[in-house]
Point group: C2
Amino acid sequence: MNDSRRPLTLRDVSEASGVSEMTVSRVLRNRGDVSAKTREKVLAAAKELGYVPNRIAGALASNRVNLVGVVIPSMANMVFPEVLTGISEVLDETDLQPVVGITNYRQDKEESVIFEMLSWRPSGLIVAGVEHSEAARRMLRASGVPVVEIMDTDGLGINHVVGISHRRAGREMAQIIAQQKYRRIGFAGTKMPLDHRARKRFEGFTLGLAKAGIEVADQEFYSGGSALLKGREMTQTLLERTPDLDFIYYSNDMIGAGGLLYCLEQGIDVPGKLGLAGFNAVELLDGLPRRLATMDACRAEIGRKAAEIVISCISDTPPTENHKIELSPKVQPGDTLIRHPENLKTD
Amino acid sequence: MNDSRRPLTLRDVSEASGVSEMTVSRVLRNRGDVSAKTREKVLAAAKELGYVPNRIAGALASNRVNLVGVVIPSMANMVFPEVLTGISEVLDETDLQPVVGITNYRQDKEESVIFEMLSWRPSGLIVAGVEHSEAARRMLRASGVPVVEIMDTDGLGINHVVGISHRRAGREMAQIIAQQKYRRIGFAGTKMPLDHRARKRFEGFTLGLAKAGIEVADQEFYSGGSALLKGREMTQTLLERTPDLDFIYYSNDMIGAGGLLYCLEQGIDVPGKLGLAGFNAVELLDGLPRRLATMDACRAEIGRKAAEIVISCISDTPPTENHKIELSPKVQPGDTLIRHPENLKTD
DNA sequence: TTGAAAGCGCTAACAA
DNA sequence: TTGTTAGCGCTTTCAA
């Protein structure tokens, strides 16, 4: 075992095994032909010493790095851990490793995180969203690294894009709500400037309502704190301020769940008197007393597809053409949206 | 801008600015004295070209890497994203960057993740838990990298340890439950082999009950699926199988929340007839109709402390002595634990 | 199947 | 304040 404080090098393994550095390197990477006997000797020596290769040197020499950068706004929102899970699942089958960077929804932080990531010359970069600072966009384009922008397909991508159209998601929800003859619609959500995708859903939503001749009757925004609690509070606020609301659309399931719990406690007839819908199809909804209507944002699937694109970019000799994959989130009506089943048409 | 596919090097910036490579390097790292005029020239050229330094080469040459490895079992359990948030908060003040690896609660995976991490010669390694394979332990010890084991202080650490004693947490909860004159205690939790900390809480819990002459009357375990839903189901199962239970201790708040919702729906008198408690003090509890009793596991604080230890190890010339920080989680009785306030003594 | 030499892009150390 | 030289620990390439 290594008792000195100096990290071991190939040379140490070479000396311990009596095999040249070059051959040791070949054995440890499973490259080229090495006789079984030499192999054994090397492997034994490496194990005995507790040798851990120096990827930094390896990467510099080979110009290859088995890292894939993943840039996301936050860990606090379960959406992103779920995307990461999808990415990990796929990368686990390869020797690629995800490296996560957090932007806290701030473009300046995103820019510096992307810069840091690119400075490691990763095999690929997966970035949440399609809105970036001009400088970030330039870096990404100039880097030569395959870039996959995820979550959102509304906008111009740099390279590859995998996600859903949040505008469309909002619009489709609006359509069903209108079909169900709800007319006094409220909206509760995050403060928009932070969250482009929530904003786009809202835009799509108002547009969809407009087509049915409806305007959003009231709205309420929050930031920070327990989403479940905020959902309660906003629901109460909305209903007190605009008592004739017959629907509330929430920008995510957590606040929607809070709203649902509130309504049930208040004995409000859901969905007869008041309809509710959220967004994301989070697992949590399974355990609530009633199923909140929602829409699956395909988080894990987006992660998996993004990872697959990176892999294909690395393996393809002819540069992979740009992908743009738009997944179709489905409305899950649950028990809080449908009061006129006869009006449920899929178009 | 860089239009060729070859990534830019210092040499490119040097040529574009007419300044030697070495001086360019100094400017870009803010090291040593450089005249304002040269600085400007270099910075302008670097920006104009869109130069992104190659940290791989830099790290190899300087033997310094601004990466801190963080090895956690999962992203799906909000506990770990929260720890990460604490780590990020602190590292954000420095030029250190967290790099996350996921083990899926598997020791073999943990071993390979640690190996990969160490191969990048990070400035520090933060690892969840104190149980690792013998090989992993050897690697960590031999690496020369400062290691901080987090979450759990029950067991032998390699180097630095920050966490809480889950045995003690379980014992303390048992004490209060006994004080409150609950006698027929049920337990619902994760399948243990996966989760050492849940197991230790359970061990401490049974020990604490034993001191009061009580045995766990019934228990139920789950794995996978929606925790909220599982909490409901397990609660129903327990209460049907052992109708005289007067308390259920849950190994985490999500299943506890599910249980609470179930009990409220069933019109069960909580905490009079049946007491409930969870573990973790997750934010979600704020939004429930009643406050579940719980215990704060100090997740963010653990993350912050761990990051601080790494930082201190890097800056200290005399090798930092080993830390062992045991935080004290506090019982938050909420509305589901106290039915004899007069018995509420803190010892 | 094995080995020797060169060099990846940067920084430490020293010289001017 | 600036420049020169050597080399970090590997892998690539080529020769044996």
